[in-house]
Symmetry: C2
DNA sequence: CAGTGATTTCACAAACTTGTGAAGTTAAGG
DNA sequence: CCTTAACTTCACAAGTTTGTGAAATCACTG
């Protein structure tokens, strides 16, 4: 219950102007990196909101899109755990929330992606023979991803420490 | 000049069958992760070739696509440094090569991506005010990416060691 | 348990992407 | 300097994605 009252989600200071600029630019980068446009915009809008939480209607109004579009995008975001859906008690509308660290962890959990790459590579090694030159290349690539996967975990551990020191 | 002679790029053992299965599956994962289909397929095909190098014609034949498609995809792959273009002296066709470690480093150089995210975030912090709650959220996110960026470098350093021990 | 506001689903239209064939460009080799 | 193989570019057609409006569903509140 940090900022309640006004109902608008943007700051008095910088203004909706600045929010919109950030949202579109940051979303554009996420899109470039492979994310769908609408989830990217919605996520950026949440990041740039003071409370870190917006309702479906607010999102639709701010981004000029239909409720349907919000619905679909938000489903994706919750599935990949970048955003949480919360029902405000006493109201019948949902709020969507970026929960601090939650989403770094989600980003990190792109090691679900890594895992699938590894499966494909393992099958490849088996199919091509681990003694063939191609098989060996695949095996080395596989080893690389396995290595990365291990490293990511300890990296996140270090981040948590770093974060605690600087932000809490 | 490792494997010369036959002209075919697939192994005798596993067979073109196994290569194709790997190529399509691995490419599908890359696509899922945001890569365009054709570059993904071509890259996978190179990975799964014994010599790690194929000509434009070989790629076209193996993947059943036009020279135009190969041309475009290969331009992308060379731009992001996952593949090198080499002209075989004495011939007039180019070979495209996956150079061992080169492409891990390229994957890693997705920190070009990180850098662009950071730019967008810095602009956001400035625009929204670094004292506003939203500005602080963006600042923390920025700090996260800066942290990651630093970690990636040392992680790759450790990988090189690990690799040297196990594969050379 | 009816009324109402919020959210979701679905069929479809617009916009964008992707790969093709054909013409154009480059440069090796006679 | 002409021939020819290899590669690239371009306009376009097929296919896919994306967001919409309208209808349906859901679940609070009275």
């Amino acid at each position: 219950m940090t900022t309640q009252g006004t109902g608008t989600a943007t700051e008095g200071a910088g203004g909706a102007e600045a929010v919109s600029r950030f949202v579109e630019r940051f979303a554009a980068q996420l899109v470039e990196a492979g994310m769908q446009r609408m989830p990217a915009r919605i996520f950026a809008a949440l990041l740039a909101s003071d409370s870190g939480a917006l309702t479906s209607a607010e999102l639709g109004a701010q981004l000029q899109v239909s409720p349907a579009a919000v619905s679909g995008a938000v489903r994706y975001l919750t599935q990949v755990n970048m955003v949480t859906r919360e029902r405000e008690p006493g109201s019948r509308r949902d709020r969507f929330v970026v929960h601090g660290n939650q989403w770094y962890e989600a980003l990190t959990n792109r090691d679900a992606v890594l895992k699938r790459w590894e499966v494909a590579l393992r099958e490849g090694v088996a199919g091509l023979g681990e003694d063939s030159p191609a098989g060996q290349r695949l095996a080395e690539t596989l080893a690389f991803f396995e290595f990365i996967e291990g490293e990511v975990a300890s990296m996140m551990e270090r981040w948590r420490v770093h974060r605690a020191e600087h932000f809490e």
